[in-house]
Assembly symmetry: C2
Homo-oligomer: 257 residues x 2
């Protein structure tokens, strides 16, 4: 399986602390040695750092850990391959333009008989993972259902959640998805989240002997939500998302809880 990491914030925020926790699981404290990637949105653009090599020990991961890229929306992923060989085209996250925005997708889980998702449409997979195929299927379904992007984000992402529930009939599909503004999380089995806001305190990583006092890193109005497959810190209260449930975040705030 894999591990997911997402962030939604109301001010550009770096994810160095959480990424440092996650990357230990990419070959050191966890078995996710088959590549990793992280996408940062900035304004309407994005940049993705990825590597088909283990995260732990990667010079590119070291850069991401040490160079504080500030973003309001981030999706990261470390991979333990099940469907699709270890290769760059199979390394999450995947990003596609749709409705004039960049959409980014990462998946934890495994699907059976997923070739049923191979349908004609605007978006076709390049690699051979169940994940990229599911992402293309989802965008193609959206394209069929909505000729233009709906104005109401709750309506749009509820439709996306329905498509995720259809995909879930094929197996396990924990998903993080974003258009750069909204961060959508769909839980099939395991996904956790927390929101940090004032008064900020200290957080301590589970996977590495590192603590950070967010009080010194933040302003009183900051709201930062982190989503991860498993909790990343030992001294904070993480919420479990229930299987079948989706959450939608905008600027760090959950819109549908």
């Amino acid at each position: 399986m894999c591990e997911l990491l997402g962030m939604s914030a109301n001010v550009p925020t770096d994810i160095c602390f959480s990424f440092t926790g996650l990357m230990q699981r990419g070959g050191k404290t966890g078995p996710h040695r088959d590549g990793w990637g992280i996408t940062f949105y900035e304004d309407k653009g994005y940049r993705t750092f990825k590597d088909p090599q283990p995260c732990y020990g990667s010079p590119i991961a070291k850069l991401v850990q040490e160079y504080p890229i500030k973003s309001c929306t981030v999706i990261g992923h470390i991979r333990q391959a099940n469907r699709g060989q270890v290769a760059l085209q199979n390394t999450h996250p995947f990003t596609r333009e749709h409705w004039g925005s960049y959409w980014t997708f990462a998946h934890n889980g495994q699907l059976d008989n997923y070739q049923s998702l191979a349908v004609p449409g605007k978006h076709q997979p390049v690699g051979d993972t169940d994940s990229e195929l599911a992402f293309c299927w989802l965008l193609n379904q959206l394209d069929g259902q909505f000729p233009h992007r709906p104005d109401d984000p709750l309506l749009l992402f509820a439709a996306i959640a329905d498509f995720c529930t259809q995909i879930r009939e094929l197996g396990i599909i924990n998903i993080l998805l974003s258009d750069g503004n909204y961060l959508f999380a769909y839980c099939s089995t395991t996904l956790h989240w927390l929101t940090r806001r004032a008064p900020f305190g200290e957080a301590r990583l589970l996977d590495e002997d590192i603590a950070i006092d967010f009080h010194h890193q933040t302003s009183p109005d900051d709201i930062v939500t982190v989503i991860a497959t498993l909790p990343l810190t030992s001294n904070e209260q993480w919420h479990k998302i229930e299987p079948g449930q989706h959450l939608l975040f905008y600027q760090g705030v959950c819109l549908n809880a």
Copy 2:
């Protein structure tokens, strides 16, 4: 204006030497301070490093310069903004999936009245550059002309060259374009190239006091073509592409010269 850098090779090759030359022009020996990007294809996948900040002095550019990513097809770009603000969504290269492959595009030049390129179609721009709009127009034209990818690459890229000639009526459009296997160069005003093959010799950068002896870095069967807006080395014979001409490279070899 901007500067372009491309590479086509028959074995995975790093571009650290040429990139070191180019990045000096991104704020040190040249005025291209408005961002930079470089896309490396590996197998069917790609990864792009980009920054809306100047290349010279960028920690990410330093990583690209020092970490030898080996690739057979590379497209790089340093930007001096003319159309579109300095922002990540306006930073080249641009990559889109088409026909199940990732296509990457970078542009040097400037177009007038380019809103005529805004047509309905699969691909819509996210940023506000003439370049990204021209790329989307080109892919949408291809989509209209060919329901499936033509088997003959010479036929396909000749059609692409015809579309470039149409865009050229709006201004200056020096282009590098690739699907990961083929590297296509269209010259509107200025583009140079050279092919390195055995017997390999020493090359000396124009923009920095660095020389490399490719004899020690290569095998006798290696073929590596580099394309750049202006020559990057002082002691090698660069060929100028004639305005209106396009060249198509596959594994370092020009297929249509």
